[in-house]
Amino acid sequence: MLKTRKSGFLLLLLFLLFLVIGINAGEVTVVWEKAVNVCLACIGIG
């Protein structure tokens, strides 16, 4: 059981690291720029 508990927290730490690196790299702006413009592909005409 201890192993399972550890794996969940290790994964959490790993993805927290991903998140921090992504934020520092400026990916938040990439997501925002895509999300605030109408996605023609999503609508089915792009």
Binding site: L11, F15, A25, V31, C39, L40, I43, G44
Partner: protein, 295 residues
């Protein structure tokens, strides 16, 4: 618990689509919240959407990874993967049951009285193909002369995008109607096929196609919140399977990839206490222990 889940599903749907000024602006929300990915499948081109779709965002980053790297920007999707991974590490596939608007729609349509059909088990693996091909490989590898790919899943498959954005945006922006052609018809057809299937099949989109559910499913075995099966108490009555919105045979093992942790089996189906959950290895309140768990 079942009523509570319905309320949380409804609240999540409203919060994910809380921009109510769109009838006046005739456009989508463009505020800062749009930089945050919501945990469920909710198209960011929905006029009322307040957040970004994690699946659309992931495809976008992958489709533009080459020009980004060429320009010296390390935009390789770590922000979106981080959000998905944190959610998955904490609760596995639970967002599908509790906060996904498209999941709620599927459950509501399945309530329509009709003959119910079960899908073959192998079909649940199709979604991993959609994830690998339409979300990762095609956006990454099929690029134009400048190195830009496209969001293949959004463009050719996603019925949530058609329902939440495709139909409303054509009402709001009449100039878009002239651009709607065969692709629009194709996407409308996919939407209506799934809407029909939802009446007869339990969550057909989640189980066979949804790449977001496929991503979360990878975390089910290792997440901090986990389901527990007590074989010593289980009488194999299969009531958990009969009531499961995902058609999971819980008695064959806890934390299967398609378990969305709705807790319906635990709360409503099992009369023998054979199903419980644990958080960080600690059994839920009232449970004796987790030593009897089926892996």
């Amino acid at each position: 618990m079942w009523v509570l889940r319905r309320w949380i599903q409804a609240a999540a749907t409203v919060l994910s689509n809380a921009y109510l000024l769109f009838p006046f602006t005739r456009n989508i929300y463009q505020g800062k919240l749009k930089s945050m990915c919501v945990p469920g499948l909710n198209c960011y081109s929905c006029p009322a959407a307040t957040g970004a779709c994690p699946l659309g965002s992931l495809q976008t980053v992958l489709a533009t990874v080459r020009p980004s790297l060429k320009a010296g920007n390390m935009h390789i999707g770590l922000y979106v993967l981080g959000i998905l991974g944190i959610t998955g590490s904490l609760v596995g596939r639970m967002p599908c049951a509790w906060v996904c608007p498209f999941g709620l729609l599927q459950e509501m349509l399945h309530k329509i009285p009709s003959r119910k059909i079960e899908i073959p088990h192998w079909m649940i693996y199709i979604k991993y193909g959609f994830l690998a091909l339409f979300v990762i490989l095609l956006p990454l590898l099929v690029v134009d002369g400048l190195g830009y790919g496209i969001t293949w899943f959004c463009k050719y498959v996603c019925p949530a995008g058609t329902l939440e954005a495709g139909i409303p945006m054509l009402f709001l922006q009449p100039q878009l109607r002239e651009l709607a052609g065969w692709l629009y018809i194709h996407k409308i057809a996919i939407l209506f096929v799934f809407l029909a299937l939802m009446v007869f099949i339990r969550r057909p989109f989640c189980r066979t196609v949804c790449p977001l559910g496929a991503i979360y499913s990878f975390f089910n075995k290792a997440s901090i919140f986990r389901m527990v099966h007590h074989p010593d108490r289980c009488v194999l009555c299969k009531e958990c399977y009969n009531h499961c919105p995902m058609g999971v045979k819980f008695y064959e093992g806890a934390n299967q990839p398609d378990c969305i942790r709705c807790l319906k089996c635990m709360q409503e189906s099992c009369k023998f206490g054979a199903i419980s959950y644990e958080i960080a290895g600690l059994p839920a309140k009232g449970e004796k222990g987790t030593s009897a768990e089926t892996p």
